[in-house]
Symmetry: C2
């Protein structure tokens, strides 16, 4: 499929509009007409740019959101080489999620996961990248001798992913960020003692 610049702009408008809309509405209840209304597009355009219909559109949205999650923390993620950078990262994530409350791109992703194997794949890739970035941070802390060398960076990073993921999940369900903060603090504290 090739599109002219105008076409690409429209396509992008649809994806971004749908993404934002999906952050506050469960994917099951979002209709193509909703998307059309929000993005000022007609059904014809939606199917023109997403021949696979709703499924294709949701997948495109998933990819778009997955991108956002990582680039969002990028300044922090790639520089986890001092204790300050770790806590700064923690603060950024907590503040970010606390501000947006339930309207969470990652959470919306998870919601649309069940049923769509494509989305599950996108999430798997996202988590893997995330874990890799954290792992790199652990390794760099070991390299500078601030963390014991016998710590397994892979498992530590895996635990971080689980903790953050779970904290966000709880935040979405309950509206409270306690668990997210506690998990983050415990894990960083664990690193500190290692």
């Amino acid at each position: 499929m090739k599109f002219t610049p105008k076409g690409q702009a429209t396509r992008q408008r649809i994806v971004e509009g749908a993404a934002e809309y999906l952050r506050s509405n469960s994917p099951g209840s979002v209709t193509l007409d909703d998307v059309g209304a929000v993005t000022r597009t007609s059904k014809g355009q939606i199917f023109h740019y997403f021949p696979d219909g709703k499924e294709g559109l949701l997948l495109a949205v998933a990819r778009h959101e997955a991108d956002g999650v990582l680039t969002d923390q990028e300044p922090h993620l790639s520089a986890l080489d001092t204790w300050e950078s770790w806590t700064a990262w923690r603060d950024a994530v907590v503040a970010r999620y606390r501000a947006q409350g339930r309207h969470c791109p990652l959470g919306a992703l998870m919601d649309q996961m069940s049923g769509s194997p494509g989305t599950a794949e996108v999430i798997t890739e996202l988590l893997a990248q995330w874990q890799r970035a954290i792992r790199a941070g652990v390794v760099s802390m070991q390299a500078s001798g601030q963390v014991r060398a016998d710590l397994d960076p892979d498992r530590t990073a895996a635990a971080f992913v689980a903790g953050i993921q779970g904290g966000v999940q709880v935040l979405r369900a309950t509206g409270r960020s306690d668990q997210l903060e506690a998990a983050f603090d415990l894990m960083i504290d664990y690193l500190r003692r290692a």
Copy 2:
């Protein structure tokens, strides 16, 4: 609403059948006809026992599943007073979730959460109970002097909830239990060193 014994049995059959069915199918795609087919009941019966229709049924299922999650780990949860009991608990949870893979009652709950405030409440209550049980375990370890007394039991329990929750979530998305195990191990290890 009052039902005869026969009626209660039917109601229960519907809830349990629907619950099992929901574990492997996303709630958005589950229809009342599906439930009827699986539980050998007619639409009439479903609306007879759940006057609020689908929403009421899903809520009943949510409560049923929430019960199951805790009673499932109950032998372990109420006896977290030795290191062996903690690791036994860990092993039980990991084994359990690894066996069931994606068909996870808690995960299915989370899925149907978005959009239904009732379900969100059920989940909040479940998480709170869970956290309380873990907290009690931490306290008892402190009482017996196996864990430092200056550790905050609330925050520690909160972190555990987040870690497990996230691990399960990742397991559902990727099919791998690495993160769940890593989170569990890191946290227990953290306790050990405290």
